[in-house]
Amino acid sequence: MAQSEASSPGPETAGALTTADGRPLAAALARASARARRRAFLLVLPLLAFILVTFVLPIGQMLLRSVHNDAFPRNMPALTAWFSANPRGTEPGEDAFAALAADLKGLRANRTAGEVGTRVNYEFSGTRSLFTATARNAEALAPPYREALLAADPAWGDPRLWAVMRDASRAITPNFYLAALDRARDETGAVVRAPPERRIYVLLFERTFLVAGVITALTLLLGYPVAHLLATLPLRWSNLLMIFVLLPFWTSLLVRTTAWIVLLQGQGVVNNVLVALGIVPDSGRLSLIYNQTGTIIAMTHILLPFMILPLYSVMRPIPPSYTRAARSLGASSWTAFRRIYFPLTLPGIAAGGLLVFILAVGYYITPALVGGASGQLISNLIAFHMSSSLNWSLAAALAAILLAAVLLLYWLYDRLIGIDNLKLG
């Protein structure tokens, strides 16, 4: 597009600018910038593909599992067909039991009885072996199937089982979200609360947000003076102190957590010192770990740098002359702090608070190690369903609810404080 000396000056048409070779300037410019944009896009393409493959797709796939589980319809085609042909409330007759028997034979042949049994067991405990045991002897089933199956196990006549199988026969189901909110369906399909001794998830969601809030407040309380000190000391000293902040930050999370176990346990350093000083009696050692206290102490320490660093980066450029000017105009040191210094640090508080809170909500290793029973958070249950109970659909539903709650908080935060006020460093 460079203008060449040799080209003749283009005809000056009225109003529209053109390039040397006579095309309208606007079009040429658009083409040039489109090419630049394409090149820029090609440059970020690897990153985009990387994020898509390693982040968006797996998470999307995981979230899909929270509403989609086809273990039943995939392995029980005849009964699934019967359910879609007959509306809810139809008494299962001989045709339904014949379909069931045919499917059970299929389960036996493909060794998939466990898969179906596990799926139904999610919503009706104790039914897993019904499927595995009956399928093991499915070859012997002969008409009339209703009598044959009820003879094999009378539980096959349970209306609740049929209601659950009907629910499970649809691959797309909201039931995992119901389970994640301590709710379930009864025989008629109505949503009811789980019995009190089985309610857990709502309690854990509340506890997770409460603990995350307490930790955020504690890190702010502890981190604010430290960041202020770092920002006001001469560089020579503040750099040295900064290393003390960063050193634990660079240490392995596991090492820091186990160090807290050594310090806080019943026969640990803290308790031994307290007993030696006579502050607590030997029989009344404090329970500082394997409970909620342990979780809060260890997580506050681990997340502290995430509060200090944004605060420091906001405090450093605040000229000390502002506060001095306020003082010289007659403000007390408290007023100068409240009216001048503190408002200037708000973006750092906002950034640090958001970072610490969101990290704390998803924390998993530390509560698992030092949380005992009362310090468990929702992420520990997600991990339990991912790796132990293998109810991935429920794990996905719990994770989706957690994600939605965090997004909601983020939106509220944007409305109240404004995301533009955030300064990460």
């Binding site: 493959v53 797709l57 797996p58 104790g126 001794e197």
Partner: protein, 359 residues
């Protein structure tokens, strides 16, 4: 769907990719894995030239379904509890093992008659019988030591914190036995909602004094640190800590829950032939007897029992009285009911988690 999981886990898998001349065995870690390395892995490598890579897990049964589901199986053999072996086999997660590959006893008894009843299933070959027991630190109770499972729940007479495994299995059975349920009735009681309530009520009585553990090496550690005075534990870990390391630990055999465990091969194991070869080798008479001289877990073959001698760790302690299946240890003992746990595992663990989380 599965392909995506493969992509995401491919990186993790690349590290575990083994050559044709090695197999990977997933075990429970600690003294137990050490016994298997000495008794199975080393002799197998010496005999066949196939190296055995040993990796550990809190419970080797848990990673298997995830690996099989993702089509990315990185281990060849795993050591799992009986109930887990049956459950995973039902779900099609394990290779079916042809019983014909198992060698006969030295006197020619066919393998299937040599193994104790039920020790070999479609997918599992049993290696040993372990017990979940109560152990205490003798320095905590010098005058009046605890003797029964009920004493574990009596924090008045026997003060101090208690270590308990974070999980429903064996914990609920022991709670019921401590509450006075005879061993033979435990599972019929636990099958009723009232029975489950009763077990949790018993656990409630010491809930505030419990330190929860997850890996088998934690109870000896907690006992040695003085963090707990009594703990539920696996007998082999306590035996090794007490005899090999001289810790002042004592086992209460009253109310023990014993269960077989053994080798399984996950479906799609990368070195299936070598894995089968390993399982057949390791579960022959001599290696099984050998393993029982490294840790106090009983062998599963009748022909192995007479060969079990003294503890290899010190060369003097006879192993027989320390095995869970020794007659004097079976006075009030419970055989873990795999059918019960295959069926109720998910339900009871969910209830257990809810109970644990509630204050």
């Amino acid at each position: 769907m599965t392909r995506l999981l493969i992509l995401t886990t491919a990186l993790a898998g690349a590290a575990g990719m083994a050559s044709a001349q090695s197999i990977t065995v997933l075990g429970w870690g600690g003294a137990y894995t050490q016994s298997q390395v000495e008794a199975y892995h080393k002799p197998f490598t010496a005999a066949t030239g196939i190296t055995v890579i040993s990796v550990d897990s809190d419970n080797p049964a848990t990673p298997i379904p995830a690996m099989v589901e993702a089509n990315n199986v990185t281990i060849d053999v795993a050591v799992v509890e009986y109930a887990d072996a049956v459950r995973l086999c039902d779900e099609g997660m394990l290779e079916v093992i042809d019983h014909a590959i198992l060698p006969p006893a030295p006197d020619g008894t066919p393998a299937m008659e040599d193994f104790l009843p039920g020790m070999v299933t479609d997918c599992m070959v049993g290696t040993d019988v372990f017990a979940t027991i109560v152990a205490y630190n003798t320095t905590a109770f010098p005058d009046n030591p605890p003797t029964t499972i009920a004493d574990f729940f009596d924090t008045e007479t026997f003060p101090g914190k208690r270590g308990v495994r974070r999980g429903a299995k064996a914990t609920l059975e022991m709670a019921l036995m401590a509450d006075g349920v005879p061993a033979e009735e435990v599972y019929s009681v636990l099958a009723t909602p009232e029975g489950v309530d009763r077990a949790f009520a018993k656990l409630d009585s010491i809930k505030g004094d419990i330190v929860w553990w997850q890996t088998g090496s934690q109870p000896p550690q907690l006992l040695a640190d003085g963090e707990v005075t009594m703990s539920i534990a696996w007998n082999g870990r306590i035996f090794n800590a007490a005899v090999a390391e001289g810790q002042p630990f004592q086992i209460i055999w009253d109310g023990q829950v014993y269960e077989p465990e053994g080798f399984v091969i996950p479906k799609g194991a990368p070195n299936l032939d070598a894995a089968l070869q390993f399982v057949a080798f390791a579960t022959s008479t001599e290696p099984l007897a050998n393993a029982a001289t490294w840790i106090s877990y009983g062998p599963t073959r009748a022909s192995s029992a007479p060969l079990v001698g003294v503890f290899k760790g010190d060369g003097v302690t006879p192993m027989a009285p320390h095995l869970p299946t020794s007659p004097e240890n079976l006075a009030n003992a419970l055989l873990s009911d795999y059918e019960f746990w295959v069926d109720r595992d998910a339900e009871l663990n969910e209830r257990f988690n809810a109970w644990l989380a509630a204050n």
